[in-house]
Symmetry: C3
Subunit: 167 residues, 3 copies
């Protein structure tokens, strides 16, 4: 007790708890950037330079510039308004604190440009994120983001007949 | 290592983590009080005496007695039933642990007295809270609560045409 | 400072914070098992051997085998698809770290076999979980799970007229 080894161990355990809190913050900052139509300025600080973003039905982008461009295009052409609720993250930080994995659920409300009708449509989205993170210059960043939407459902229809609608 | 300075530093970092947990608890207790039609007895312990509560469209109340009265009136006249989901809080505690800021998202289901029709209506609510907190006699309290509802939407209509409905 | 007593105290406070994180994880693992139609293999590791599960309208199961059977039957006969969002857990760990209590809210989307119509129906669910936990061989498990659904609502109807629908 009170010896350097014990102190180091406590310091490490505290750091792991702090990492988890920082990663929770990062996830919510991603939600905020997403709700600003994937604003590249807000997204920039969240991703590692060599990050990869992918989501079935939306695309795959390699490297931060491609991610910022790709997300921005989705945000401005395919979405009019969104609200992202990021829920119950599971976080695993590696013992050496250089990398981490996280997964969480997303509950999303969106307004999308209408295809069938000239008016925009209200849409429900639900699914999960699986991400890898890396700690660079003492801050956590996304290294890989995979979004899997299990539910894309028109407000006017619900999901009983079609759970992933083609918008 | 093992010297008083290090120990003090660890103690401080642990206290900051504990503060975050206590603030998360406070947020959920606020949700519970809200779902009891803003019960003043449940709300009382959450606010500092000189707190301010404000929300565009609902009002601004200064001081705990005015907050308890104001919220109670909203809860009993404008709401029949609610379910508040408080999601992904971001928390920043000051270095001296005397004050903190927090923000989170709210996903809300409500039944409100019908205006158009004699029957109550089901309504969706979505938005965010921005709060300042103060630590008084070793416990965290809300000092300022700002609620911004970005979505108030009749169940029968959805939000495609009108995102903030006048109820 | 730096004496064994202080170090022990810090270690204990860190352990309590780690307990909270582990319990958050357990809650999300329960959601994942639930979304696999209450898969008994996924559920197994979450419950203590002598656990009790109960929910008004769904049943009461005593002992892990009965819980796994009972939940599996609900998952395969009464549910077609679900998405469970577990939100804002409140967690209280006992001072000796042998047991804990947690409560949280659930926001649920479900597709259920249709009764009125041959087609499945989309349903909203909302409510709360109250659980007791026990720490066995260094891991947290559910000892008692009580689910109270305050809202069971057909997508096609909403909750204005009937908040707990008979499905």
């Amino acid at each position: 007790m009170g010896n350097p080894k014990t102190i180091d161990d406590l310091q490490h355990r505290i750091a792991l708890l702090e990492d988890r809190e920082e990663i929770r913050d990062l996830i919510e900052r991603y939600a905020e950037a997403a709700d600003h139509r994937n604003d590249p300025e807000l997204m920039y600080a969240l991703f590692a330079e060599d990050a990869v973003w992918e989501a079935p039905g939306f695309g795959r982008f390699e490297g931060r510039p491609a991610i910022l461009n790709g997300l921005s295009e989705i945000g401005t052409t395919r979405l009019v308004w969104t609200m992202h609720y990021m829920i119950s993250p599971r976080i695993r930080v590696s013992g050496d604190r250089t990398n981490a994995q996280a997964s969480w659920r997303v509950w999303e409300l969106a307004t999308v440009p209408g295809k069938k009708h000239p008016q925009p449509e209200a849409v429900w989205g639900g699914g999960s994120y699986q991400v890898d993170l890396t700690r660079v210059t003492d801050k956590w960043h996304f290294k890989r983001v995979r979004l899997n939407l299990e539910l894309i459902s028109r407000y006017t229809e619900g999901w009983a007949a079609t759970r992933v609608a083609q918008l």
